[in-house]
Amino acid sequence: MTALLAVARYEFRMQARKRSLWISAVLLGGALVVLQGERGPHHLPLDTPAREVVGTWALLFSILMPLAYGMLLADRLVRDRKLRVEPLLESLPHAPATRLAGKFLGGVAACGLPGLAALLIAVATELPKRHDPALIGWALVAFAVVTLPGIAMVAGFALVCPTLVSVPLFRVLFVGYWFWGNMLAPGLLPSLTGTLLTPIGDYAATWLLGNGATALFAGTPGILPFLRPDPTAATAAASVAVIVLFGLIPLAVAAFLAHRNARQTWPAKA
């Protein structure tokens, strides 16, 4: 447990100190605020319920900010080899899976920081005009159900996949996936958009809106219909669980392989 917390703590510390994390978050978050258009949260009527206001903000930030997280997390595992820290870490008595889990937790926490900051800043700009303290509570709920599950899924894949393909290739593929799997209307091309598996948080944001409208494409007919139930509180919860579990799959596979390697024995005779 000490080793897991140590890796998570120092991984968080190293990533949270990265200027690129904050610069990209400010640039992408800022661009979304400026370019939000008439459907954006700034244009919601003053009597709009707090949960709907915050839900709209959370979805807005989820459109692009996870791209920055994916880019930054892509080198976290492979950089141990690049920096030549790996032999030293492998000579220590903790299990390799512990290091992987710690990097995941630290990475999610570090990327969650600008995500939470963006939501709280948005709420701070809304409070003077809406005078509703519930905005703060809903911001934390939105962070937990819209932002964090998406980061967890992105982190799972961004940590492990670059061990199979190069970091630059992963980044290119990730950007392509993000727009194809989250924002491309299912009617245009077969895509994962609108399914329970969209890390943009479509189902959870739709639940937060609570006004009968769909945040983006949640539940829109398309391929894999069993992953496109009607958006409700229950399907939103299911979406959060599925997104997190899906992100844990590459970690579980990598941990299993690392564990198998670590248990490798050799014969006394050739």
Binding site: T2, L5, A6, Q264, P267, A268, A270
Partner: protein, 292 residues
Amino acid sequence: MHIEITDLRRRFGRVTALDGVDLTVSNGMFGLLGTNGAGKTTLMRILAGVLPATSGRAVVGDHDLSTRAGRVAVQRRLGYLPQDVGLYPDLTPTEFLDYIGLLKGLDDRAARCRQIGELLELVGLSAEAGRKLKGFSGGMRRRVGIAQALLGDPTLLIVDEPTVGLDPEERIRFRTLLSSLAGNRTVLLSTHIVEDVAQTCRQTAVLAGGRVLFTGAVTDLTARADGVTWEIITPGPPPTEGVVVSAIARADGTHYRVVSPRPPAPDAVLVSPSLEEGYVALMRSATPTPVG
């Protein structure tokens, strides 16, 4: 910690890095000599539990390294300085040592902090404790490396080419430090710098082509050059017979020390050999065996 290695082999595809190594290492400082590519680093990595062998036995204390349980048991008592130690550039030495300390299982925060302070003092980095590692020179990075290896007071210390890239003063300081640590520990020092072994170790082994060419006392390795080490003073070119180990230009001519079974010149004088000459004599007498 006693180390017993029997018929240890390691292949990388078609390349044989270790080809039936037999070696016994007892408490104190033990030097592992050999040319680049001799298999020293592979052997060190196997002993540190970083790399599995292909076959053979390696027992450290009572722990068999061929099993995961044995490797973990050894790693709990191990301090390891890899050949080209990497550090996280975004951490300070204090943070890096704290991180490694936690991974070594040093849970007591106060004791860990105290030990980190002492080790930074020992390696002369107290003044740099709060500076990010990305600005550190090669020598300073090595010193952080040795500090992390000493965390947790390990009973087995494996240091792979620790003095490469250090300036002469740092090299001497480092050697002295390692020597002083060997009192109640086993320190396995891998190097291709013979002088480092001459100044610190009583026991040594020489690896070449993945095999042990020699194992025994440093004095016995030196004795390999008895009767074959010559000195010649000449203003002319170096002798063509044998291996010239040193050449020092003086007013009366250049003083050459040569390892050769026959006198390299009519006026050559037999002299007492150094460890370096013993090493050269051994390498010359060994029949090269192709591996791989």
